[in-house]
Amino acid sequence: MTSSPHLLLVAPLLLPLGTLVACLLTRASHRACAALSLLGAIGLMLVGLMLVVHAGRGDILVSQMGGWAAPYGITLVVDRLSAAMVAITGVIATATVLYAQARDSDPARGRDFHLLTHGLLVGVCGAFITGDVFNLYVWFEVLLVGSFALIALGGDKRRMAGTVVYVILNLIATLLFLLAAGLVYGSAGTLNMAELAALFAAGNVPPGVQAPLVLMLLAFSIKAALFPVFGWLPASYHVAWTPVSALFAGLLTKVGVYALIRLVTLLWPDAGLVHDVLLWVACATMLIGVLGAAAQTEVRRILSFHIVSQVGYMVLGLALATPLALAGAVFYLIHHIVVKANLFFIGGIAARMTGSERLPAMGGLYARAPWLALMFAIPALSLAGIPPLSGFWAKFVLVRAGLETGAWIAVGIALLTGIFTLLSMSKIWNEAFLKAHPQGADGHRKITGQAPAWWAAAGLAAITVAIGLGAGPVMDFATAAADQLASPRHYIDAVLGSGGR
């Protein structure tokens, strides 16, 4: 193993933190604050890409914080999955910060947005690269505090109602996680993920550790919005400011999915009871989410339910537990974050142009803004899984993995969910784009200064097309990441050194 680039490993934490401080200092000048924020987000994207290059060589990068050796100190670990997640976080951060530069009626809202977004990014990146269970809890709290303030931003009546739901249910989830972390320590005597994995791999599972671990999986499931604990998501995401809900839609539930993937692949690398339960949960999540979307008539509420349904696909890949299925899950994560954030962006632009996000009150966008229609069609068709866009490859791999393991019901539900997703997307298409505006041609609003928002949406659409057309290299990376996940031995050796404790 070669030596790890320690500075590069802490960069995903230091960069957003530094940007946060810089934005705080330049708070008086809106332009400076926004420019610094954009610079910081681009920097995070570059750091993420550098991590992908380093991790892509096959080594697991490890850095022991403060020089304390593995089970005693806090370890930062970056394998291919973590690196990819940090990179995609940087991409979404850049797009969101860019979108937020579009002219808005309330400058104060935009300024606070930049501060809080970078605070949130510290937590998200920390959760992706930590190798310690309690440290993961702390990063969850960091991102939670940021997300609380972001969702309340603006704070009108409707938004506060959604904030209350979001705050209370997420607090309960993190409390469960804290309890689980404490009890895991009480029975296993360690909080280091690699050492836990080593105990499980050696077959001496500490007595009483299973129950808190299941509690931890429950806490992650609430974060990831899995059935039956997804209720908080469609009850709150649609009230936030558009860039905020796009950022949340792209990143936050995926932190929960990442934590699930990390914990389950480390502790239970072979298919077992956990995977059976997750398989049923995944099937229910896919189906209930998409059916919930069918009942909605507002753009962001439809999309919120689709987040739930799409998370089901990723957990399906985890539950099938073959290297191919894991590769599908990793590919799905990468593809979904880009597509989902973009759909929220385009929904926001469409709402600004038509004056509402209720589908009956929208319309006429295809005639008025054909480019927006094209930009909507790309992520929408990708979400539904139409070739050659990125969603097709993600679903294709998962379905193939499902057929190989004989999970017929799960494959059937996955395909059915795809059809329903297409129906939902065509509902938005018909209502918002094809149909005439109910108030005629006068219904459209003249808005200016929206160029940054268009660039952000176009950039993400271009990435979606690129992932679709160049699926080979991305899938190779996902497959290599899945191989790392499937054999936790490498992770354990990299963190603890080959001798262990």
Binding site: S105, K157, V164, V167, L178, G182
Partner: protein
């Protein structure tokens, strides 16, 4: 000693859950605080409470019955985080009261479920 702490944590947790199930948002927030503190206590207890000497390492070596410092460090972190989140929750509660003139959970969540308002220049 552990059994007393464990029972206390359980008792606090049950009161916390009872408050959480209330229809009044003030009691829900208080329930979260109680639940959080009971969980802090559970985490502390999970580190065992038998050894009570302060865990200071001096030139004479480690005290024979040094308490376990790790859960103390964990709980200290959790208390700080929990306190700040409590303060934030109170701020949300106050703002919600100002906007809604109600702390009934049903009345408040009903507003989030209502159809989206049309965008005027102020709320885009």
């Amino acid at each position: 000693m552990e059994i007393v702490a464990a029972v206390t944590a359980g008792l606090l947790a049950s009161i916390g859950v009872w408050l959480l199930l209330d229809r009044n948002l003030v009691r829900v927030v208080l329930g979260i605080v109680l639940l959080g503190n009971s969980i802090n206590m559970a985490v502390l207890t999970a580190g065992r409470l038998d050894n009570r000497a302060a865990a200071f390492v001096s030139a004479n070596g480690v005290p024979e019955f040094a308490g376990n410092p790790l859960p103390q460090a964990l709980v200290l972190t959790a208390i700080v985080i929990g306190f700040s989140l409590f303060v934030f929750a109170l701020a949300v509660l106050r703002r919600t009261w100002e906007r809604h003139r109600s702390t009934a959970t049903d009345r408040v969540t009903e507003v989030a479920e209502a159809p989206a308002p049309n965008l005027d220049e102020k709320t885009s």
